[in-house]
């Protein structure tokens, strides 16, 4: 649910050689069934907690499941009607556009600032590196709910410290009693800032770890050839980091589209639906308007949009990690 825990990971090690595993397994007839025995419980659990709900979601989107169906348990099959209705609603398209904007802003901010922070970590003394990475780890650890509550307090109109700071800067004018949440675009800016702040540690520390693995010889060679800082970044660092950057972008797009808690707790999608993204939209449709099928249709459209990115991510991941395949 949070970027903190979704990081799939493998400890960097030599993958077991397939031929040897094969020999070990062939040696024992019983062993042929062992993997199925070991994975069986997981398969059953998967079918129950993931398989069934996903099938149910798809089925739901093809039905007309309204408030009455909750009690009768009956819902007529309506084919693709929910989808045509959702796609014919201008609200949906505005929401989609808003979701894309939020996600582009979040991912752009995350990648640029993350890259700068990682480069900074490479250049500073040990004490500064420890200090900055401890700060980043603490931000990473902050539960999203707490972070969101703090955000609300930081930008509280009357007593929020940020309004006070902005007023003191004397650049943007008087911000005392400025209500960020009354304007959709400003509320969205706060939401984006929150997602970027919370997501930054993962991006910065991952990029830092990747930069640390670039051999120093390359930089020495580049320096000998008279390359300046910009050229080194462009011709040495960037090409080597490209695969990591690609994976990060994919993950962050998916995560930012999926983020629900910050938006829901800060604005509930308001004012006037002005901060509603696809996740909030499907939630509202299902649980506020009790149109479970409409909500399911929106959710499925979201999943399908993300599926393209997910497949790209899986391909990259499996191409990198030989132990997986």
């Amino acid at each position: 649910m949070t970027s903190l825990t979704q990081a799939p990971q493998t400890t960097p090690v030599t993958p077991p050689r397939p031929d040897r595993t094969a020999r070990a397994v062939r040696g024992n007839r019983l062993a042929r069934f062992t993997p199925y025995g070991l994975i069986g419980p997981a398969l059953i659990a998967f079918a129950a907690v993931l398989g069934y709900p996903i099938v149910r979601l798809v089925w739901l989107s093809l039905q007309d499941f309204g408030p009455r169906s909750l009690f009768t348990g009956e819902a007529p099959f309506v084919g693709l009607e929910n989808f045509t209705r959702v796609l014919g609603d201008s609200d949906f398209w505005f929401t989609l556009l808003r979701t894309l904007l939020v996600s582009v802003a979040c991912v752009g901010g995350l990648m640029v600032i993350g890259f700068l922070l990682a480069s900074l970590l490479m250049q500073v003394s040990a004490w500064a590196r420890v200090m900055l990475s401890v700060c980043l780890v603490l931000v990473w650890a902050m539960p999203m709910v707490s972070a969101t509550m703090i955000w609300r307090w930081l930008f509280e109109p009357q007593y929020g410290v940020l309004n006070w700071v902005i007023t003191q800067l004397k650049v943007f004018g008087d911000f005392s009693a400025h209500d960020w949440f009354s304007s959709p675009s400003q509320a969205l800016a706060l939401i984006i800032a929150l997602i970027v702040w919370k997501g930054l540690p993962f991006v910065a520390l991952t990029l830092y770890a990747a930069m640390g693995q670039i051999p120093g010889d390359l930089y020495e060679a580049a320096a000998l050839d008279g390359a300046g800082r910009w050229n080194v970044a462009r011709h040495v660092t960037m090409p080597i980091l490209a695969p990591v950057l690609a994976v990060l972008v994919l993950l962050e797009v998916i995560w930012s589209v999926n983020s629900f808690t910050p938006i829901w707790v800060l604005t509930q999608g308001g004012p006037d639906g002005g901060t509603t993204t696809l996740g909030v939209y499907s939630y509202l449709e299902a649980f506020t308007r009790n149109d479970y099928s409409g909500g399911a249709a929106i959710a499925i459209i979201t999943v399908l949009l993300l599926a393209v990115l997910s497949v790209l991510y899986v391909r990259r991941l499996f191409a990198q990690d030989e132990a997986v395949v």
């Binding site: 799939p8 030599t14 070991l38 770890a209």
Partner: protein, 276 residues
């Protein structure tokens, strides 16, 4: 040496500045929570809380059955992690140590389901729980948390199992250990740190969940800590000091755990996540 030092002075100064900005919201949480309640609503904010006061914490803890919410949160998170571990351990060994038909498909599915948003899962899960009468039933939440904890746990443990050199097990088996003996005496002890790390992450993801708990728990007595935190109000309406103190209470355990494991975290976890 002095040239080196001068070269680093500017980046170091930037790092100090950046650290201050990055950590400020966390600092502000503790600073606000520790202020005297009367000083929280002031036109000019006080950046260093003095004198310190625990009044906000007292309000947060005594308003409503706080320990009850802790119990609910712990019950759900701990059960989720334990069940997930039992199911995931076998699966992760199968995935890391055996080649079998359907293995690749399972791995792909494992990654893909982690990309499905919670806001999509929540609709069918709601109808499922409702049909068995498990809405507003705290243990019912465990099933819903499995949807994200289980794939994560299997995937992560698989990485740790794959990290144990196969030679060790083979050597044990040559010395007369059975497959199970090799697992029990060799693999499991080596896997222990990985199991602990995975459990911590799985626990935190369940501990942090707001969406599912918010949708599936209705009565106040059944709230978990995140739902309690967001809905926190005293009889006088919103008490900012107490709310922020409540956030601090909720975050503190996670912050401490992260600080303890941070060396490992920064080195290993991120490097493995998206290695190039």
């Amino acid at each position: 040496m002095s040239r080196m030092r001068r070269k680093r002075a500017v980046p170091n100064a930037i790092a100090v500045l950046v650290s201050l900005v990055v950590i400020f919201p966390v600092y502000w949480m503790f600073a606000t929570a520790l202020k005297q309640p009367g000083k929280i609503l002031s036109a000019t904010p006080e950046f260093v809380p003095w004198p310190l006061s625990l009044d906000n914490f007292r309000t947060a803890l005594t308003h409503g059955p706080f320990l009850h919410y802790v119990r609910n949160s712990l019950l759900v998170s701990v059960s989720t992690v334990l069940i997930a571990l039992v199911v995931a351990l076998g699966a992760s060994i199968a995935l890391a140590r055996f080649r079998f038909i359907g293995r690749r498909a399972f791995l792909v599915g494992l990654v893909l389901v982690q990309m499905v948003p919670g806001s999509a899962m929540v609709i069918p899960l709601y109808l499922m729980l409702r049909s068995v009468g498990a809405i507003d039933f705290v243990p019912g939440l465990i099933i819903t948390y499995m949807t994200f904890v289980l794939p994560f746990t299997i995937w992560t443990l698989r990485g740790f199992v794959a990290g144990i050199p196969l030679e060790l097990e083979e050597a044990a088996m040559v010395d007369g250990c059975g497959r199970f003996g090799a697992f029990w005496h060799i693999q499991l002890p080596l896997l222990a740190p990985g199991i602990v790390a995975t459990s911590i992450f799985a626990f935190i993801s369940a501990w942090d969940d707001y969406l599912f708990a918010y949708v599936f728990l209705k009565s106040q007595n059944n709230y978990t800590l995140p739902v309690w935190l967001v809905s926190f109000q005293t009889s006088d309406g919103i008490d900012n000091g107490a709310t922020i103190a409540a956030s601090a209470i909720f975050s503190l355990p996670v912050l401490i755990v992260f600080l303890l494991i941070q060396r490992r975290l920064v080195g290993g976890m991120t490097a493995g996540a998206v290695k190039g």
